[in-house]
Symmetry: C2
Subunit: 125 residues, 2 copies
DNA sequence: TCAAGTACGGCTAAATTTAGCCATATCAGA
DNA sequence: TCTGATATGGCTAAATTTAGCCGTACTTGA
């Protein structure tokens, strides 16, 4: 079966020589980290995810959830009942991401004091 | 001293609750991983970096080198001689990134077989 | 003096991602 | 029957990042 994927069809080639590029391709997307982490914490339903991440529009959360599903990081279960009920959960592959995320998060926390000022006020040093 | 930073001045706020967001902010940029890794391997001069990463334009490499410098990941040394000579090297902060990069790269390599097809041929399953 | 090397900046267009609006359908409860 | 909750899609504009062109200045060597 052939179908149009929701991933933007890139006109410029992607480089994947190094494994970190693969990681970055998976994680890049403004809300993917938050989504993965919320699902890891047990927040499974799209409505509740949206309430937990209120700054993101419903639209972009859907888009990125779909991308993560396509990549095999999360699974989507549609309960065939009315009203519709949907749940997301991490796949086995998604679970392997958790310790890696923790490693990078620890790095970020450790150096937060140095890094944060540049992002909060990038125009002035 | 106040100066205009080369970072794009964002009109939408950035979220940094979690340390992983800090890591992602530092690493995001198409060529930053390659730049950090090359510098880690001892390739120090801008011209040689460009020859090692020929697919990137000189312009964008300069831009991302400057961003990494601003963030304190690399240091730039200008030798006051003519013709000009410039060298980059990792700062202490940049060095702390190496084991983290290795962790994420290992994750990517381990799952390359599953992930790669989605990026190489995203339009068809 | 011309080409080629060093390094750097301005500027604009293209590519890519994100935001935000409007609309669908079904169900439960007031 | 009106409101609000469930979940989802089409579409376009805005925001952001990357690519690519042209130009600067200095040096060395042919």
């Amino acid at each position: 079966m052939t179908y149009i994927c929701i991933m933007y069809e890139k006109k410029l080639p992607v480089d994947l020589q190094c494994g970190l590029h693969l990681f970055m391709e998976v994680m890049s997307g403004k809300w993917k980290i938050a989504l993965i982490w919320c699902i890891h914490l047990g927040i499974k339903r799209p409505g509740e995810l949206h309430r937990r991440i209120p700054k993101a529009s419903r639209r972009i959360l859907d888009t990125q959830l779909k991308q993560l599903t396509t990549l095999g990081i999360i699974d989507k279960t549609v309960f065939e009942q009315l009203p519709l009920k949907v749940e997301y959960e991490l796949t086995a592959l998604g679970e392997t991401l958790i310790p890696v995320i923790e490693t990078t998060a620890q790095w970020g926390e450790k150096h937060r004091a140095i890094l944060e000022p540049f992002f909060l006020n990038p125009a002035v040093k």
